[in-house]
Amino acid sequence: MSNDAAQGKRIPYIRLRNIKKSFGHVIALDGIDLDVYPGEVMALVGDNGAGKSTLIKIISGVLNPDEGELSLNGKTFKHLTPSRAIELGISTVYQDLALVDCLDVASNIFLGREPLKACFFVDKKRMNRESEELLRRLKVSIPSVTTPVEFLSGGQRQGVAVARSINLQGRMIIFDEPTAAMGVSESARVLELIRSLGDEGFAVLVISHNLHHVFTIADRICVIRNGRLVKDFRTENTNPDQVVGFITGSNRYSGEYTEESITAWR
């Protein structure tokens, strides 16, 4: 409880108010209010088609909302653009990865912010060197940073996408199902990274279907169903059964939890 009170005084990194978005007849988001805080890993969970990816695309400026507003750094926006979002410190690992297959690993990691030399030439050597360092730091194993990403495995591609977003040096990092194509050890490393980003003070928003992962790394769990935010939990105040209840809409679980049911999941 004291935790919740303390959180109330903190300033959110981003604040969404009444975000609505439709695609033709499909209402993807139906009035979302959401605050994401620095130093906190927030998990967004929900069924397929609940609107999670649409929501993070609005935060990263890829989509414009039909209604509602976003506040950051004391400024309010009707919508963002990808470059504005990046300037405001928001970097995103998209579910569909958004890598350029024909470019190599280093060029993808630096896409849009290639270092230059002599004001014209892309400094490929520096890009390669810094990409190697970054990948080593993130413990992503890739044969060579000069390999085109089309030759990489699904897990390696996700590793590159994660490195890309870290390299943007934002203060808020969004992961849309970052471990979906990864093996056990690869996803363990990414989860560790996400947790450490939260501890280092980044505002972290993670979408995942894997409740086990969610309960391992998240400080907060928000459930989204049919485009509405139906529940906002502190992780220690809930358990997987209850979360599943809100995801499916059955709310089977009464809401009490026991120490055992949580530790069992952790």
């Binding site: 990263s60 890829v62 653009t81 990808p82 470059s83 979002a85 990046i86 300037e87 995103t92 998209y94 990865l97 958004a98 890598l99 350029v100 297959d101 024909c102 470019l103 060029s107 896409l111 849009g112 912010r113 290639e114 230059l116 014209f120 030439f121 892309v122 490929k124 044969p143 060579s144 000069t146 390999t147 089309e150 030759f151 990489l152 495995s153 390696q156 093996g183």
Partner: protein, 329 residues
């Protein structure tokens, strides 16, 4: 190490094959005609190829970016006509050339703007501009060629610089510039990325409209340079000049290994392909085969090159892909 070498070889395979075909052709033509292997004849080949090289360089950027520009032949004619009209009205040679280049750039930028802002298929848009530019060239001249230009202008087509001539040097200069820009500049990276995954580039915060417009603008300018050479060479601005030059440019680019789907472009390949086509045309003349067959052959070459590239990207690359995956797991 080994997969890396294989990858490199895989990347330059089409170009290596072209060089091989070129060697076979050179040997065959040398045997068939004593005239073929002379400096005069090679100078001829380079001279003719320079026009195609310059126009195909711009086309390489457009096709790498996942587009196509069917208007280049008509834009070459329109630019030539603009230069001629400017000179007739008493403007200097330099100013007139700049006006012609600006006209080409303007058509290119308009092509790019419509394609990018309205998200319309480049094939349709540039087909429209092909007709529009040709129509303008005909309207401006009233359908009658304009001729008789100052020496300083015709120098661009038939001048001499030692054993070489201005079109050759312009082509060489442009080729080096294009290679540097496509392979080493941000503009080049984004050109390829536009063809590879436009949405990824957009999400990286890059203005895809700006870069797409620049790609077509560049192609319009190289088309206008082609117009300069054609007009200066013939000492005539002919509204019907540059007929089917779009076909020759596209053929050279595709033959050179640039992917019609975008995301892969090779300036060296375009250069080699232009020379190959130049030797082919020259060979047909030397062997006194009627010019009509050139048209037939170019068509066949485009089809063969596209089929070859498609089969290769399905078989070859998909194969390496799987292999890399299994070793990675």
């Amino acid at each position: 190490m080994f997969p890396k070498i294989k990858l490199l070889l895989g990347n330059i395979f089409p170009q290596l094959l072209l060089i091989l075909v070129m060697l076979v052709m050179v040997i065959f033509l040398s045997v068939a005609s004593p005239f073929f292997l002379t400096w005069d004849n090679f100078r001829n080949v380079f001279d003719h190829s320079s026009l195609y090289i310059i126009m195909a360089l711009g086309m390489t950027f457009v096709i790498s970016s996942g587009g196509v520009d069917l208007s280049v032949g008509a834009v070459a004619a329109l630019s030539g006509v603009c230069m001629a009209v400017a000179m007739q009205s008493g403007l200097g040679v330099g100013t007139s050339i700049l006006i012609g280049l600006a006209a080409g750039g303007l058509v290119g930028a308009t092509n790019g703007s419509i394609i990018s802002l309205f998200k319309i298929n480049p094939f349709i848009v540039t087909l429209g501009f092909m007709s529009l530019a040709r129509g303008l060239a005909l309207i401006i001249t009233g359908g009658i060629p304009i001729y008789g230009f100052p020496r300083a202008f015709t120098w661009w087509g038939s001048g001499h610089i030692g054993p070489l001539n201005p079109p050759m040097l312009l082509a060489a200069f442009m080729a080096v510039l294009a290679a540097l820009v496509l392979n080493m500049s941000r503009f080049g990276y984004y050109t390829v990325a536009l063809g590879g995954n436009e949405e990824a580039l957009r999400r990286s915060g890059v203005s895809i409209h700006l870069y797409k417009i620049m790609v077509y603008l560049l192609c319009g300018v190289t088309a206008a340079l082609g117009g300069l050479i054609v007009t200066a060479r013939l000492n005539t601005a002919e509204p019907l000049a540059g007929w089917m030059l779009e076909m020759d440019s596209i053929a050279a680019v595709v033959l050179g290994g640039t992917s019609m789907k975008g995301g892969r472009g090779s300036i060296a390949g375009t250069l080699i392909a232009c020379l190959l086509l130049g030797i082919l045309r020259n060979g047909l003349v030397i062997l006194s085969i009627p010019a009509y067959y050139q048209q037939l052959l170019i068509g066949m070459i485009i089809l063969t090159a596209v089929i070859f590239a498609e089969v290769r990207s399905r078989k070859g690359l998909a194969g390496t892909h799987k292999k890399e995956r299994s070793t990675a797991v």
